[in-house]
């Protein structure tokens, strides 16, 4: 069995259509960013942390399960609440962290009242005989982000340096234009996914950032496999026009590109459909990443090299440089 054996799709010729699709997607994402902004999760923003005691006075009431509390908060307007036990389970004391709905700065009494209302209507068994004022919500604070500004700056810096070093490595192993275009393709992938998250209003959590970084790794991998073939083919088909060699290389590696995308997509889809709500958005980002990472490797990175060389009239130099060494 062979997938796409001896394919000959004119990828280079149809590149302008692909560019158009990408530009539309990027513009749409940009629109989403401007209109909606990004929905940063409680990992990145301030919120409210409340220590809530829900141990029933009546011993015949079974201790509250964390899953029950989670689903109650979820159906009452706090789908992203983070809940954990504080102390042993039979004490039924929970730490609930939610994004502050009104203002981020004040631990608003509003939030407190809202939580109390939800508890009163849904969990009345557990608070019977208790003083609502002080026995249920034991402590309530404004809580700072897990990933504060400092951590964010450090992470941004680390990512920037790693991108630069990737360019340097590709420059060394291939050629400068190839290095820059590979990174341009990465930005393309990440930007489109971030744009889709902005458009759909999905939360950006630490996990989503991890997914984006994974996508970067995946996409660069994919791109380099094609670059590698181009380098090899340029040495073999010296007389052919460069654009044709590029097209041949993309086609020759197409089977591998599709199979790898397929196996990775299989696992991402499994996470999406069977992974439960926590992994849903993570898997969603990964699926998008695999699709766009593959797309940009086929349509963007190497085609951009052709166009940039055409603009700068340095095609000959570039290709000589590429095939000279190694």
């Amino acid at each position: 069995m062979r997938v796409l054996k001896n394919a000959n799709i004119p990828f280079v010729k149809i590149r302008y259509y692909a560019y158009a699709v990408s530009i539309i997607l990027i513009l749409a994402g940009l629109g989403g960013l401007i209109v909606n902004g990004l929905n940063w999760s409680i990992d990145f923003t301030s919120g409210v942390a409340a220590k809530v005691n829900l141990k029933a006075k009546d011993t015949s009431v079974a201790p509250l399960k964390i899953d029950k509390l989670r689903s109650i908060l979820k159906s009452n307007g706090y789908p992203e609440a983070e809940i954990q036990f504080v102390g042993p389970e039979e004490d039924a004391t929970f730490m609930i962290k939610i994004k502050s709905k009104t203002s981020a700065s004040a631990v608003s009494s509003d939030t407190k009242t809202q939580i109390l209302e939800i508890i009163q209507t849904n969990l009345s068994d557990y608070i019977k005989g208790k003083d609502l004022g002080k026995d249920v919500i034991e402590e309530i604070y404004e809580v700072g982000p897990k990933v504060g500004g400092e951590l964010r700056t450090a992470a941004g810096f680390a990512i920037l340096i790693s991108l630069l070093l990737m360019i340097v490595y590709i420059w060394f192993r291939f050629e400068f234009t190839f290095g820059v275009m590979a990174i341009v393709a990465l930005f393309h992938d990440v930007f489109i996914i971030v744009g889709i998250f902005a458009l759909t209003g999905k939360e950006i959590t630490v996990q989503i950032i991890a997914a984006l970084l994974t996508i970067v790794g995946y996409s660069i991998n994919d791109t380099i496999v094609i670059f590698d073939r181009i380098r090899e083919d340029l040495k073999i088909y010296r007389k052919e026009p460069v654009a044709e060699v590029f097209n041949r290389s993309i086609n020759q590696t197409l089977t591998r590109t599709i199979i790898t995308a397929g196996t990775t997509l299989l696992t991402a889809l499994a996470l999406y459909f069977f992974g439960g709500s926590v992994l849903h958005d993570f898997a969603f980002a990964m699926c998008l990443g695999i699709i766009f990472g593959t797309y940009s490797s086929i349509f963007m990175a190497s085609n951009l090299v052709i166009d940039i060389n055409a603009i700068t009239h340095k095609e000959k130099q570039t290709m000589q440089h590429l095939t000279k060494r190694k």
Binding site: Q84, S162, A210, I220, I259, L279
Partner: protein
């Protein structure tokens, strides 16, 4: 007998390392040193320990106080990062509290200690001989004039008039109430174990500090953790700070060799410190001006060591020796490297905390992982037949290797981490796909299985290297410059890349060479 092969040896090492780190997960009752290397589960899966800390900002202005909490959070994060507890959660709570959540509960006391240490490092000159004696005499005089301020000493003074007379005069440093508590040692003063507590309280008492003459300071040496009831040494120091923690560039734990002639470091851990340029200049001047005297290395008011200055020391390197255990030395080096806390912090409460994810999400996450894995394995089998089976077989080792290395690096497994690993599996077969596709191309050109495998590997390995090395460079940079979660991500990524490259290039190749392509096979099941 076949000749020795590096490839075979590396596979054996690969499997042994994997087995070593995975054994604690599968086999109960392993010896302690082995069993403690167990893969930790993150706060989201297993929960852990929560420490609530309060920052004391009473000594600071309102503007400084606001910054102090954030600055302290940064320092605590660095300390925990270096301590190796991966994936902590550190958040500001209200105005001046910090909530630290650590996955797992083991070793949490050490972690708490590490968090709250202030670690004020100072270098001070030691005063000895007649000068030191004079200092004690002045202390005696000042105390006896104000005995009512020191109830404990007054009590001792009354009660001990008779007892003191019993003690031989020679063991006392002086006749006053304070100096009667210490006896002259070889070079400094010694304090009997039973009096250590009293002396410690006095040294911390600001009234007592006023009784010490201007320009001097008294300090005890570090307690020996292994023999806690030993007598201690009381040093008289000149209170001028010759060098401080601000002059420090880097601290590192080292071990003295067993053949070292210096008994303080022979076979023992010590901390070697490197000073900043300005600091090393100061250090050179101090050592030149004070050759022959002793320089005390004081940490949080305790003298760790007081070596003799034998000659001028340039280059700005010094050693802190002391009666350390190796874990103490490690903690100390971390604290020295991360700098002083801006404002003191005290723990308010500690409690066990549960997982942030419900058991249902953990179950469905693992379920999804298994489904994804089966899908990939099945695909490879159908598409590449026997070669696919080999790739699947090796994949099992690869997954084991990733888990084993995560254990070795002390990483913490979170649900997104597991998801990331599952995706790594999807990508891990990529190297195999690259190689197999290449072999098929070579077969299509009519080559024999033997030469097709050789040629396919030869070409594809270059691609695998280029593609993976680029990502590996990115992972190394993320690890080096990143903090917290970014570092954890980089480790997982790097392990995944190394594992799958090794499996595809070395492991699968060996199986192909040894079992599949023997002699003159005409066909390759691929």
């Amino acid at each position: 007998m076949k000749k020795f092969s590096w490839r075979g040896l590396s596979i054996v090492i690969f499997i042994c390392v994997t087995a070593f780190y995975l054994a604690p997960l599968a086999i109960p009752n392993l010896p302690e040193w082995w069993a403690k290397n167990k893969l930790k589960l993150g706060l989201d899966l297993r929960g852990g320990m929560q420490i609530l800390l309060e920052v004391d900002t009473s000594e600071l202005s309102a503007a400084d106080a606001r910054g102090a909490v954030d600055q302290n959070i940064k320092i605590i994060r660095e300390r925990i990062d270096q301590f190796g507890v991966a994936e902590p959660s550190i958040q500001k709570l209200g105005e001046n509290r910090i909530m630290v959540q650590l996955p797992g509960v083991s070793n949490y006391e050490a972690a708490e200690n590490l968090i709250k240490q202030t670690a004020m490092l100072e270098f001070k000159l030691v005063v000895s001989g007649e000068e030191a004696k004079k200092v004690l005499d002045t202390v005696d005089l000042n105390i006896s004039n104000n005995l009512s301020f020191f109830p404990k000493l007054a009590e001792l003074d009354k009660k001990d008039k008779s007892i003191l007379a019993d003690k031989a005069d020679s063991v006392k440093a002086g006749s006053g109430v304070f100096s009667s508590l210490v006896r002259p040692g070889e070079v400094d003063f010694e304090v009997q174990y039973s009096d250590v507590r009293l002396i410690q309280d006095l040294l911390a008492d600001s009234l007592f500090q006023q009784a010490v003459p201007m320009g001097y300071q008294l300090a005890l040496d570090k307690a020996d953790t292994e023999s806690a009831r030993a007598d201690r040494i009381l040093h008289v120091l000149s209170s001028a700070v010759e060098l401080s923690g601000a002059d420090l560039a880097k601290a590192k734990v080292e071990y003295g060799s067993s053949t070292s002639t210096d008994p303080r470091i022979a076979n023992k851990p010590y901390i070697s410190i490197e000073m900043k340029r300005e600091g090393s200049r100061k250090f050179e001047r101090v050592t030149a001006d004070n050759t022959g005297k002793r320089l005390a290395i004081v940490l949080d008011g305790v003298v760790y060591s007081a070596p003799n200055i034998q000659e001028r020391i340039s280059g700005g390197r010094a050693q802190i020796t002391g009666k350390f255990t190796s874990s103490e030395a490690n903690e100390l080096a971390i604290v020295l490297n991360t700098g002083n806390l801006i404002a003191p912090i005290k723990p308010i409460s500690t409690s066990i905390i549960g997982a942030t994810l419900g058991s249902d999400s953990i179950r469905s996450g693992s379920m999804a992982g298994i489904i994804g894995l089966i899908a990939v394995v099945f695909f490879m089998l159908v598409y590449y037949k026997l070669c696919g089976f080999i790739a699947d077989f090796v994949l099992v080792f690869n997954v084991g290797f990733i888990l084993a290395m995560l254990t070795a690096f002390g990483a913490t497994l979170t649900l997104p981490g597991i998801a990331g690993m599952i995706l790594t599996i999807g990508m891990a077969v990529d190297a195999n796909v690259l190689i197999y596709e290449r072999i098929r191309e070579e077969l299509d050109q009519g080559k024999t299985p033997r030469s097709a495998v050789d040629a396919g590997y030869k070409r594809a390995v270059i691609t695998v290297w280029d593609a993976n090395l680029t990502t590996l460079i990115a992972a190394a940079v993320l690890y080096y410059f990143g903090t917290g979660p970014i570092r954890g991500f980089a480790v997982t990524l790097a392990i995944g890349i190394i594992g799958s490259m090794f499996c595809a290039i070395v492991f699968v190749r060996s199986i192909l060479d040894t079992f599949v392509i023997t002699g003159t096979s005409k066909k390759l099941s691929i």
